[in-house]
Every structure is written in structure tokens, then in C-alpha cells.
Subunit: 665 residues, 3 copies
């Protein structure tokens, strides 16, 4: 557990032509910062030739950190292999689906390659030897936004066959599990297993993707074990888990934001490697700042260990899209804390002067001087220093879980709802609806879901699921839980084989409903709300029909149903429609689950928890360009930022892009 | 000739985890079905290891077919090679233009590869030995939607050079035929012939494509010869010819519909391999069902042998787009019969539970139970059993031929009218205009066109044509025929060399018109109708100018002309404009050809022919969501579906998505 | 220097099946033509087998040229290698970024390959031996639209490393110059230098591109040296420099037009190879003819040697887009002369009957007969013959320079303003504004800019610039010049390393302004004009703020500034906005520079210079579909085309797509 809120930056003096460490550390301190992340990107600087190590920039940082009283997080530089290693053995580069990798970009190597492993182990060990004992080093970051990067190398494929042998024992069982008879894909011997690049079998492809996610998690654990040999007990191990990157098609390689479930790594599995969960969160800002991505990312990462976490990268002023309006940088910082973060670190300190991410700008622009964004960070840094104890270790006890699943995400790639409606679109449709209604939730991987911890469980397109988990959900409702599911949930088993009975498998009784068909919505409405992209034609079997479709032919089918089963309730929505309608159902469901929904709605956002001293702390945000007034949604409380006290229901004025931190008395 | 209307499905019990054959056959019989297509996709199930054959699922089907009195069509599984064969000799995979093929998808092999041929021959012979003598086997389907799949393998290229040597004798003649001097493409020796992947010569590329279509037709004939060694005389050989697949960009690999001329196979040439023409037809439905694709496909396939044909695949309820509205499944079935089909078979019986085409849903949904679509099929099956004799062998005697050409299609890829106006777009513009006016036509390849069989010939962008055929068309008009041609017809010879005199070559006299230039339409109109994408600037030379362009500068040019030549007439339209205008010209032309155009227009569609007993049978469809009334367009007639009689001109009520089958007395 | 205005065509009788040379030469003469370009495309015709030469078509042309009194320009056929050469050594084909080149297209070879060089040298020498002494041969074109075609071959990369060694001496200096520490790209030895295909370092990639531009220029110089060994002193060497090709996505490989700075060749550097600058210019026509591309191309090419130039290719009637309206072909011809061209040659004489560019139509359509376009050329040819002496050698003395830079163009590819706003978009935004205001300018590469020659210098996104050049610009303003710069100018040094102080580096004093941040415009306005894609947030530091942004938050920042520095003025515009606003600033700036801006505005375009006899000649164009009236903007003048005289200010009627040539008395 961290001892204080961290506030800092990623810092790369090795990118600069001149020595700025002291100047930069002074400016950081002046802004109220206490922590700097270093070293995680420049293996070729650390080891310019094979076996020749250069610690000069590390040593300088260690020394200066001590002088300036800044804590350090040391990152392993494993994700960018040096040119000499590629020259020595080009096989360290990964083998992609459609291309051979050329040297240049980071994350281009086969993380399972033994030559790579041997060399990266030495580099990590040397770095640990040099830094682990230093008193200003408070923790380590292993690797960076780790994945397998689309690797199809022969060794990975051979490992996959071994995995299949172990899982299925016989080729017959393997053929049957994935329906490989189709298009003559079945094999007579394990040796006949073809290259996975060409497979058209969605289930097998998903098994391979899942296998590779496990390999990647294993790689992180291997790194963690190396670090463990050196670190002190008070030093943490973390990793910056990131999310599906949603491009908006603007700049080269650099536009986009943190959107949803990470397709290439299973966070639940991989987070076993770390002692402290970390994350990178980027999001729209300016007119488009809603706080939703910050909350989504925070709720996901906090749920990994059901504990506070660290935002290892958050955005300063990158690109033209992310230059913050006055107030937004500060608001964003508190938004992270409101989700349970124990600190934030900007990526990065200064804008880089060349190379690739030149305009992924840091707090400082290229001129390395103070500027409006830096000044706002400093303002916030001063506030934070004062409130550090109050705001540390915010605890949540959410009664709602939103359930996610990597296999379902993969399944939807093979069997899409629509070109324009992905798995994460539906996840965000449901998450954002909850968020905008100020119903807080955990975001939990289906594989680690403990149903007993929640009163309400929400499943966006939980396409693939084991029968064991289906029975769990059934029992959850039976015992009084509220299950709220979208279309295309509970369709297939873990191998993406569709269940061979009426959908939803096992849960048809629970929902009191089944469906056999679905349709393109065209001119379809639910209760006046346009349905887009997908509509399941639901047939009641005991359920209360909350709404039928409005349509000449599909009008005979239900669009949304509600059913009592055992002590609980089960809601199902068949069509993808406007959030307003979804929210009206979620509101009913929350009421059934005994959850009180605040009166406030976005852009007024309320995020609460328990502070270190056991008192309730509520962040109240105004994510809009106009000042707004809210009735105090808490008990008698004081705004920690202004010191003003508010009675319950008393009017609170919140400026544009403003925030109050209400601590109940 | 088939003895009865076939009604059935493609069926793959080998895809299922449990034995359902008896249950499924019972459900098929209950739906009035009589035929099942089997075996054409699963070579790796039939021969799981090299030389080891497994007939268990075939035997089970043969046995059950006898028990349930269902006929079988046995397909050769040649289009999906098994993994062991690829392992044994990776050269069986085709060599694509931009990639090496990976194992996985079907139709990934080089059909000219000798190893492939040796192995597929054995698999076919073994299958024939096991099935040919069985009394329930009524015919065989060779391969599936066969093409060359974009193969550029060395053996194919070597064969192509041999073909060129034979055709052109000398390199000089070859160079000249295609204008290879251009950009230094001419060769001094046959040995210098470069890889065809890189050619930029549209004529040579088209020659190569044409050569490969012939190779593919040869491959089908080779398969047919193998089957011929085993089949009884009462057993047919068929193949499911398909069409240009027009994607609409929705789902992976699976969206689209049958749009126009098949670019990768010459149906006229390939159909020599079969005794019974077969086809796969898929089409938009729900709000977008017009019947046009069913009619286009049927008119094409019927014209191959000027005889009835079999729809080997028609759609059940695939994807969200194809879930039929009530009435549509039945209407679609009658639509196929109305074009001269002697039967239809759904693809497929049950939805597949995994792999790739999971949502190319069959009559049964994944739950394998009855559902609204299956129930409608059963309704239709019962009707059909009653009317089987009446509806079998509908004969057409169309007086209009719409002429198509693979070389012209290829030419338009190299020399497009516009990015958004393809060869098949113009084919469909003209075909659909005829269809909507209820002028029935044959669709005939220019290479097998017998002009003497028709009163009117329509040529959409017949860009490439031999002088022999040009003289045929000239003689056709001279003798009294009506020729109706679109822009960009009669431009080049068979090698895509543009004729070196005033266009249209040879036919300038016939049309009484020539053209030297063309333009982007921008704000161009014909008679108030907007011209899109392409406008030829026609200059009268004796022709009657039906319309000139409306435009500040191009107003001096004709847009459409009509000319008397000999005993006949020749129409020419220079611009791509709204169908309404085209129809007004087609109406005049039909009148000149002595063809009576019905009063009815789409969505009321009339399709007629002569029944087995020599009486005229007319299908009258309402392709719309509203009930409509039509005046009986026939003589005194009885609706075979209802038994109601109608006098000529008497009002007939037709429900939404309804049909009447009027048999004249 | 040419002795007369050239008027002619590119001619390829070797593409024709029949001998048309005499017929074609007669038709050319009848159209007033005097020059034909030959031979530059058909190496395989010249040398059908290795070492076997066929001069028959060359000899026939030489002989006929003499008979018909037509001058010839002989082109080297070096850009299309023959099939036998590729067969002999496939390594002559270039090695592309993502593909191996297949034989077929032109410009597919590695111009640095020694085998290629040896063979092309022989072919050029033989062609020179055969043609150089012929009296009708007036000059030579070396190669065609030469570039490196995206070559990454090993020999080019090895040469690049040698170049880097020479430039940077040590790997440390090299690593530092480009910031290669980033993502572990730094090297410890020159031998570790990775393949440039994979680099993600924008600066290094730009250095490589720049190096390849120099190699290509060197290749042209090598060819010129070969030709020099044979040519007479009265014979010129030229090359057809072309421009960035802006596609509009219509046809295959063939749509587009000459848009801006050529990315793949540095014209300033490469033009050292020729004695007479030449160019190819293609442009929109019909409704979209504005003259801007003709002027842009002409101003660029004229500025290379500050002398008259030759338009080696201009468009006749290609594709549907370029069929000229009546009057346009003539207007286009005069437009070229008005920029200082000493002649134009159509590409090409006749439309090609097959192969690839079949619809890049020549003056003659495929029928090889007279047609409206040919007839208009003949009309113009007759006028031109009369005015030849008057119109030859038009001299410009422009006081404005628009400055361009290949490195800045490359930089904007790596660090784009926006996906929809490229370097050349901004160049054209500023150039077209000047053009539409009838402010004539030279277009000058920053590397050869002589600031002393101008009163006003305009810099569109001059992102990359050396400190030496920055000091030049500072001195220019100090001495009284007017500098007018757009956003994102003066950002980085020549290696794309952003300057590490307040932008604009060195010039902050000059502009009296600095900027640290920029933003996505969203709802941003300048003085009522919408800002699109990019907005720098300018902070005044002494400058006059011409306009601030209209915006809730960015309203505190300047959008455009003006500053007095020394004797001069410096303008800066921070946002990309409507041309109207830009023009209002340019007008002020021109006034400051003592430049009189004509009253006329586009579509009335005025282009002036000094004729051979020292008198001012002004072309006055009406680029529109309506006749227009202009007040004579010159002194007392006579229209050389009509003989009419006009007093200053007297009304001149100009027809749609019309032109007057006003010669002052």
C-alpha cells in the first residue's frame, strides 16, 4: 500500500540534448510533485553494445532524486529491443500475421523467444542491481502495456499444440470441440495442425488468442519473479495495464483513447504478476470531456485487486485534441482519485523533440518553460499536498458488477453484431448508462466473478460462457440477485460452440423468455426509441414484457423483458437502442436490487467512497462548459477544497469543469 | 429431366455433436421435403488420413434416406482440401497475387496442381463407389461454386504461355495484339514472358483471366468425366453456379448477395460439364425484397441450357438481414419456380454451431427446434406437394435477349466508367428495367448468342466484341431485329484493343450515329433526368435524336438515338440516367419488336410460361408491404393456390408479399 | 534558349498497328505544330533482345520529321526496363517497403543498380549515336518524371549509411541528432544500423528520403553527362519535372492532378542536371478549370532557373473529367505561356488503343480523325504561329517569393496537422490566395532562396529550417522585407528536432509573438471565419494582434499578428481558415511591401511579364462559364489576339473561358 498520494511524471532525460535534470526536478517540486517514473524505454541507452552497460543517466537520476527528495519508480526497458540484438539474431522479432517485422518500432519482438529472454533477463538484473537498494526507489514497473503484439512465430504455435494436447487429449475431442469437420479443417494427427494464421474457425482462433494472453501473463510473472529477487519489501511491483484503443482516424499512430476491455491481455490473469495495479488512461477532452473513460478505466483497474491503484500514465496536453481547457487538467486529476486511484503521473514531463511521439506532448511544451497547463498542474499539486491524507485510499463498496469477458470480445470479432457495433461498444453503452445515472459499479472479469459480492450483475453481450458460470448466475438470481443482460448474451460455450437448445441456455427459465431469431432493425422502435444495428426477437415464456417492438411484422415480439425467478429478478434487453431507454430499465433494476439512484445525472457526476478515517467522501463533478447548481446529495458535509459546509439538499454551485469534494461529518 | 419438383436442404450431420439424422429427416418430411444434398464439404471427414476412408456418416445418411424416403444429391468434397494434404505438399495451395495462401479457408488450392488432382480423384472415386448405385441417390453435384480463386501459380502461368504460343504463333503477333510496346512490355522470346502478377496491360490481363476461366471449366469437365464412370443414366450431374457477389460491407466475409455476371467463371463454357444446370441465389429480403435477384439468377441459369434448372442453394434466415418477414419465404420459393426452376434447396437445414458460417443460419436456428421460418417452409411444402405436376417444367419462350460478356466485365475493371459504376451495375440497370416493366428475357453470353432466336437484343456495355459478332448484330437488325445498346458498347476487339475507326465500329451505320468523346456528367440531364457517372457525346449521322443533353456546352450532342436500318431498328443510349427514362426507351423498342408490354409494373411482377400440359401459367407477385390490387393480366384463369377463377381484367387482390399462380383455361 | 515557341505532342507510332507517321505529321502541321517528342518509353522496342537494337521506328521518325519540317525531342527510354533484363537479373527491380516488385509497370527498377546502369547506359549511347547528329533533333529529354519509386534495396541502404558516416562522423552524434535513444533506436556501431523500412523516427526517415532525392538527382546528372558526350551545343537537355499527384479517387491509377510540391524529388537540386527546365502539368477542367494548377506549376518550374521553360506534357482530353469545354483548350495553352512557358506539348497525339493508359486520351480520339478538341488546337496553333515572336520569352520580375521545402513536407507526413490537411494543402491555400488576388510570385526552395531578390516572402508551414536560414529571414525583415508566415513554421531544425525554446525559434522577436500550445478548432472562429483542422494559440509579445480567436476559452489568444521589426514587417497567421480572411492579411502585407494589388480578382486572372521587345505583356483570363467585363488593368494596350486597343480602365469584354493578351504601347 502506498504511503501517500503519488503525483508525478514519466521522465526521460536521455532524450534530451542538454542536461536538465536539476532544472526539471526543481520545476516538478515547484508543482507539488513527489514521484518520477524512469528508465522503462531505453534499453539501447542502458546497454549500447552487447554486455556493455551504461548507467550514467540512471546514476544521475538516482543522485538528483535524493537531492530533490523525489521518489522514483524504475521501469524495465524490456519492450524496446536494441538494434544490436536484432542484428545478432533477427529471430527475436515477432512473426506477424501478414508481415515480417522490421526493426524500428517498440513491441516488435517475440516475448517467448529464448534469445530475447536471455538478454532481457541480464538487462533487468543489471538494472535491479544498480537501483533496487536505492532509498528513493519506491517501486518497479515491469514492461509497458504488455501484449503479444500479434505474434504467430513457430515456437508460439508449437506451444499452442502442446496446450491443445493437454486440454483435449485426443484429436477427435479437439475436432469436435471446435467443429473442425467444417470446411475440412479436422486433423487426423496433431502433426497435421496447420499454421494458425489461416484458420477460419472462430472458436479455434479465439482459443489461440486466449492461449497467447496467458503466455503474455506468464511473461509478466517471469519478469516479476526476476524483480522479486532484488526488491525490498516496501517496494511495489506494478504494470501499466491499458485498454482497447479506439482510433478516431486523425493522426498517424497516435490518435485514439482508452475505450474498453483490452483485447490482447486478460487483466484479471495478468494482474497476478503485480503487487500494485497500475494503468494508463487517455480520453477525449476539450468539448468532449465527460469523465466516462477515467471512470471506466478506474473501475476496471480497481476491481483487479479490489484495491487502490496507480495511474502510471495520464494525459497532459497531447495533440491538438487534448490541450485542456482551463480547469480540465485539475478536474481530470480529481476524477482519477474519485475512482480510487492513489496517484497519477503525467505522460510525460516534457514534450519530446523528435522521433515519433513528438506531439504526444508532456506538461512542458517543447520550449521547456512554464505554460498554462503546467501552471494548472502546480495549482492542483498544491491543493493535493494539503489534502493528501484525506484523499488517500478511497474505498468503494459497490453493489453492482458489470461483467466482461475476453472470449466474448473475440467472439464478436468473428461473429459481429454489425460492422459498427463491437463488443466494447455494448460494454460502454451499458457502463456509460450506469455512469451517467451515477450508479457506481465494479468491472469484473467473468472468470473471477464472485456473484455473492453483488446485488446486481450487468452483462453486456456475454456471448461465451461456461455452463458452470451459467449455473452461478442462475443461483445468483434464485437467491435474490438482479441480473441485467443484453442481447447476444449466453449464446455459446467457452469454445464458441453455440448451445444446441433454446437461447438463453440454462437461463431461459430465469429470464422467462427465449429467442430464435434476430433482425436488422431498419425502421424498428422500442417505446419511441430507434433501434440500431441489432434486434433480437424475444418470445415471452412467463416474463413480463416491458416493451414490444414497434413494427409491422416484428411487433409480435418482445424487445425487453423482466422476470421474477426465485428471490430475484432478471432483465433482458433485445435491441441496441438509445441510452435513455436503457437507463429507464436500469433504474427499475437498481430499485429491485435495493440500490438508491441519486437524483443527479451527468454532466453532474457523483463518485463516492470511504476515506482513511472511515468517513464518506463524495466527489461531485461538473463536466460541462457552464456553471451548474446541484442539491447536495450527501449528508451534512464540507467541501475539502473550499472549506464550505453544506446541509443535505443545499444548493452547491459548481463552476464549468469544476469539482467539490464533500466529506460527510 | 427431373421427375418432380425438388424441395429440400443441404444437410451436414457431420457438423453436429449428436446424432440427429432421424429427427432431422422426420422434420424435413413433415415440411413436405423430398431431397437432401450431402457430403460436398468435408473431405477431411471422409478421408481423415491419407488413404484411410471413413464412410460412416455417408452410410448413415444413405440408410436413413431410404428409411425416410428422401432423395439424395451427393456432392464431391473437392473444394476443401484436408490438412494432411497441405502438410504433405504445401504446393497444393494456390499462389495468390499478393500473398501466399495459409491453410484454413476452403477454395485455397491450385485446382491445376497434379498432387491435388491425384488425391481428389481418389476421394471422388471412393465416394462414387460408395454412393452411385444407391437407389435414393438421384444425382451428383461436382465441386461447389468453382473458380480458380485468384491463382498465379507457376504451372498455370506456364500453361498460359503455351496457350499464347498456340493462339498467336509468334511473339511479334502477340506483342502487337495487346500493344505490348507500351511501357516496354514487349518480349523478344517466349521465355522472357514475365510473371502475370505485375502486368499493367488490360488486354493481356483479361486474356489471362479468360484462360483461367477455361481452365476452371476444364477442371469441372474432368470431375464430370470421373462421375460419369459411375453414375446411372437416371442420375444427373449438376453444379451450383453462382454470381458476382456484391458486398454491402456489414459482416465479416459473409455479407452480400448475388448481383450479376460471375467474373471468375464463364457459365456458358462451364455448363457444358453438367447435365442439369444448378445455381446458388442469395438476395436482399425484409424491406428490400424485390424478386429481381431471383429473376436475374434464374433467367441466367435457365438460359445456359435453355431448360429448367435446380436452385441448389437458396436462403433461409441468415444473418440479421435475411430473417424473412411473414410471407416472404413462401414468396421467394414461388419466385424461383416462376423463372423456371424445377426445385429449391435451402442452405442449409440447421444453423451451424461454430466455425465460420455460424450465422449463415439454416431453416432451423441453433436450437434445432421448429420456428416461424421452418413453419412457413412447411406451409409452402404442403402447397407444393399438391401442385407438383402443375408447376414442374415451366417453359419460357422469351423474345428478348440480354447479352453479357466476361471479357467486357474484365475490361471495365481496367477501364472503368467510374469507380461507382461497374459492368454489372449497367447489366442490372438494364435487366432490372426490363424486370420492373414485366418484359421477360433470356440472359445470354455473347459467345453462344443465336440472334435468330430473338426479336430484340439488349447489350449493356458490350465493350469487347469480335468483328464476327458485330456482323451478326448488323445482320440481325438488317433482317428486322431491334438492337438496344448502352454507352461503351462495341468499343474494342476481343483483345481489348480499341477499334481504330469511328465508334461504334461496324455498327455506326446501324445506329446512324457516332461518338468521339465522352464527359463527366456533373450537371447534365436527359429530358429532366439526371445523368450520373458517364455520358457519351453522341453525334447523329442519320439517326433520330430521341433526346439531347441539357447543358450549356454538351447540349449540342445527342443523349439517345433511334435508327432504322434494313428491316430493323437500333436504339442507343449514351448516358447513365434514371431507370424511368431508360424504361421509356425500352418500351418504344419493345413495341418496335412487336412485344406487348403488360400494364403491370413492379412491385407487381408477372412471370409466365407454359406448363407441362401446354397451358399458360402466370405467377403474379406483390413484392411490397401493402396488399395490392391488379387487373388479371391473363385470359380466363384459375389461381392454383386458392382455386379462385378470374376473367380477363378482373380485379385480383394480392396480400403483402403475396403470390397468385394463374393457370389459363 | 529556344528560338521559337514550341507547339507539339508526344508521339508513339510504335504503339500503332498501322503506319500512320506521314498522315499524323500532316495533321500536326495542319494544326500549326512544330515539334514532336519521341522514343522515351519503349526500350523493349529499341532493344528487343539484349544487345540487339532496332532503330526502324526511330529512323522512320527522323526521316519523316525532315520531310515534314517538324523538330524532334528525343527521350531516353530509361524508365521502362525490358522483360529480358528482368529475366536476366531480377535484382534490377526495386525492393519496396511492403512488397517485391513484379514486372509490368514502368518505374519499377532500382535506379542505383549497377546491372541496370550498365544496360541503360548502352541503350542511351546507341540512341544518341543514332539521333544526336540529326538536324531536326533540337533537344533531349532524360528519363521521365524521375524518382526513386520507394526503393529500399540493400545497396541504397548501404549508401545511406556511408552518407550518415560522412555527415555525422560518430554514432553518438548521429544518435543525438535524431534522438535515437527514443524507443531504443540508438546504435553502438554503424554495423548495427537497421533496415530503414521499419524506422519510426520521423527525422531519420526524412533524412533517408532526402538522401534518396539526392541520389535520384545524381542519377539524372549521370544521364545528362552521357547525353552531353553526344549532343550539339544548340541541343538542349530537359526533363519533365512533375508535382505531387492529388488523387480524387475515380479511376484506376489514372485519376488525379498536379497539386503541389513533388515529395519524391527536389526540383531545385535535380534541375541542375538540365539546360532547359521542363514539366508535366495536369489539372481539373470543365466546371473546375481555374488556371491555378497551371500557374502554380509554371511559377515553380520557371523559378528553378529563373528562366523560361517547356511544358513537355499538358492535357488534351483524357478521361471523362478532362474533355474540355469549347474554349478551354485554347485558354489552357495561353495560361501556360502567361506563366513563362516557351511552348507546350500535348500528351499525347493520339489515344492509345490498349494496354493501360487507353483513356488518357490524346488530341485524337481512338478513331484517329479530326474532332472538336483537335480542331480547337488547330485554331490556337494558327494564332500562335502569328504571335510566336511576341509571346516568346516572357520575363517575370516578381517581388514575392513563396517558399517551399521538401523536408517540411516530409515532416508533416510524420507529424500531421490533421489527416485532412497536408503540407501541400497549406502551400496551395497560400499560393491560391495570392493567385486569386492576382499577386504573382516565384515559388522557391528554401535551400536556394535569395532573400535579397524579394520584397515579400511567404512561408506556408515551413516546419523544418536551419538556423542559418532563420537568420537570413531575420535579416530580410530587418532590412525592410515583409515576411508572411503560417502556423507551424520554424518549428524544427533540418533533422526535424524541435527547437528547445519558445517558438518561433530565432524569429520570436521578429514576429513579436510566441506560442506554446495549439488546439483542435471545433467551434473556433477568426473574425467570423471558421477555423478548420488546426489552430495555434498565439501570445502577443509586442506584436499588433490583428485578430483573436472567438471562443469561450481560447479567446484570450491571438489568431493573427503583425509586427514591425527593423525596417520590415512580419505577419503570422495561427489558424487554418477561409481564404477570404487570409487574403485580407496578404493584402495588408503586400501594401507594406510596396506591391500594388490589382482590382481584379479570380475568375478574372491577370498574368504579366516583359516581352522580347521589352514591352509589358499581360494575359487577362476569364476562368468561368459566363462572359465578363473587366476594366483594362494596364496602360494603353492592344489585344494581340483581336487587334483592339484599350485605354487604361476601359471596359474589356471577355467571353466565357476567354483570354486577351494586352501589349502595352
Amino acid at each position: 500500500m502506498l504511503k501517500k498520494l503519488l503525483f508525478g511524471v514519466a521522465y526521460y532525460p536521455e532524450y534530451l540534448k542538454e542536461d536538465r535534470i536539476d532544472k526539471d526536478f526543481e520545476m516538478m517540486k515547484a508543482a507539488g510533485m513527489n514521484t518520477v517514473r524512469i528508465a522503462e524505454s531505453t534499453w539501447s541507452t542502458l546497454e549500447p553494445e552487447e554486455g556493455v552497460f551504461n548507467y550514467s543517466y540512471i546514476d544521475a537520476l538516482l543522485k538528483a532524486a535524493e537531492g530533490h527528495d523525489l521518489d522514483l519508480i524504475v521501469g524495465t526497458p524490456s519492450y524496446s529491443v536494441p538494434p544490436w540484438l536484432v542484428k545478432k539474431d533477427p529471430a527475436v522479432l515477432l512473426d506477424g500475421k501478414n508481415h515480417t517485422e522490421s526493426y524500428g518500432r517498440r513491441q516488435n519482438m517475440d516475448i517467448m523467444n529464448l534469445t530475447y529472454r536471455r538478454h532481457v533477463e541480464r538487462a533487468i538484473r543489471r538494472l535491479m542491481e544498480r537501483t533496487a537498494s536505492h532509498k528513493k526507489v519506491i517501486g518497479f514497473q515491469i514492461d509497458n502495456e504488455c501484449k503479444d503484439y500479434g505474434n504467430f512465430s513457430a515456437n508460439v504455435q508449437a506451444d499452442f499444440v502442446e496446450h491443445l494436447k493437454e486440454k483435449f487429449k485426443t484429436v477427435e475431442a479437439f475436432n469436435e470441440a471446435f467443429g473442425l469437420a467444417y470446411w475440412s479443417n479436422s486433423i487426423g494427427h496433431w502433426d497435421d495442425m496447420p499454421d494458425m494464421r489461416g484458420t477460419i474457425n472462430g472458436g479455434l482462433a479465439t482459443e489461440f488468442a486466449s492461449f497467447k494472453r496467458s503466455q503474455t501473463a506468464g511473461y509478466l510473472k517471469w519478469q516479476a519473479a526476476l524483480v522479486d529477487e532484488y526488491r525490498r519489501e516496501d517496494q511495489f511491483i506494478t504494470h501499466n495495464f491499458d485498454f482497447e484503443w479506439r482510433k478516431f482516424g486523425a493522426d498517424i499512430a497516435q490518435d485514439g483513447y482508452s475505450y474498453g476491455v483490452q483485447p490482447d491481455l486478460n487483466h484479471a490473469e495478468a494482474s497476478e504478476a503485480v503487487t500494485l495495479a497500475g494503468t494508463d488512461i487517455y480520453h477525449p477532452t476539450q468539448d468532449e470531456l465527460t469523465g466516462a473513460e477515467i471512470a471506466y478505466g478506474g473501475d476496471s483497474i480497481r476491481s483487479l485487486k479490489m484495491n487502490n491503484y496507480l495511474v502510471l500514465e495520464c494525459q497532459a496536453q497531447a495533440f491538438k485534441y487534448w490541450t485542456p481547457y482551463p480547469g480540465q487538467l485539475r478536474q481530470q486529476a480529481y476524477s482519477h482519485l474519485a475512482s480510487g486511484a492513489d496517484g497519477i503521473m503525467y505522460w510525460n514531463w516534457h514534450s519530446i523533440h523528435n522521433s515519433f511521439e513528438t506531439y504526444w506532448k508532456g506538461l512542458l511544451s517543447h520550449d521547456m518553460e512554464s505554460n498554462p497547463t503546467y501552471e494548472e498542474a502546480a495549482l492542483f499539486g498544491a491543493e493535493w499536498q494539503k489534502l493528501n491524507k484525506e484523499l488517500l485510499h478511497l474505498k468503494k463498496d459497490n453493489r453492482v458488477a458489470l461483467v466482461t469477458d475476453n472470449n466474448s470480445l473475440d467472439a464478436l470479432k468473428w461473429f459481429p453484431l454489425d460492422r459498427d457495433l463491437s463488443y466494447n461498444d455494448v460494454v460502454r453503452w451499458m457502463y456509460d448508462s450506469l455512469y451517467e445515472m451515477n450508479i457506481e459499479c465494479d468491472i469484473v472479469d467473468i472468470n473471477v466473478l464472485d456473484t455473492s459480492a453483488y446485488d446486481m450483475i450487468v452483462t453486456p453481450v456475454l456471448y461465451s460462457i461456461t455452463e458452470e458460470k451459467l449455473n452461478d448466475l442462475k443461483a445468483f438470481v434464485e437467491k435474490g440477485g438482479v441480473l441485467f443482460s443484453s442481447f447476444k448474451s449466453f449464446i455459446s460455450d467457452e469454445n464458441l460452440t453455440v448451445f444446441m437448445d433454446k437461447a438463453p441456455h440454462i437461463l431461459s427459465d430465469v429470464f422467462g423468455m427465449f429467442h430464435q431469431q434476430y433482425a436488422e432493425p431498419r425502421k424498428l422502435y422500442i417505446d419511441g426509441h430507434k433501434v440500431e444495428q441489432f434486434a433480437e426477437l424475444l418470445q415471452g415464456a412467463g416474463a413480463e414484457v416491458l416493451a414490444s417492438y414497434t413494427h409491422q411484422y416484428w411487433g409480435r415480439y418482445a424487445a425487453a423483458t423482466k422476470n421474477s425467478f426465485g428471490e430475484g429478478k432478471a432483465y433482458y434487453i433485445g435491441g441496441f437502442t438509445e441510452k435513455d431507454y436503457l437507463k429507464s430499465l436500469l433504474k427499475q433494476a437498481a430499485a429491485d436490487a435495493g440500490i438508491t439512484v441519486p437524483e443527479l445525472e451527468a454532466p453532474l457526476v457523483l463518485r463516492s467512497g470511504t476515506g482513511a478515517d472511515g468517513k464518506k467522501i463524495s466527489y461531485l463533478f461538473n463536466y460541462s462548459m457552464e456553471a451548474r447548481t446541484a442539491a447536495n446529495p450527501c449528508g451534512e458535509a464540507v467541501d475539502l477544497l473550499t472549506g464550505y459546509s453544506y446541509n443535505p439538499g443545499e444548493k452547491i454551485e459548481i463552476s464549468d469543469w469544476g469539482v467539490c469534494i464533500l466529506k460527510e461529518k
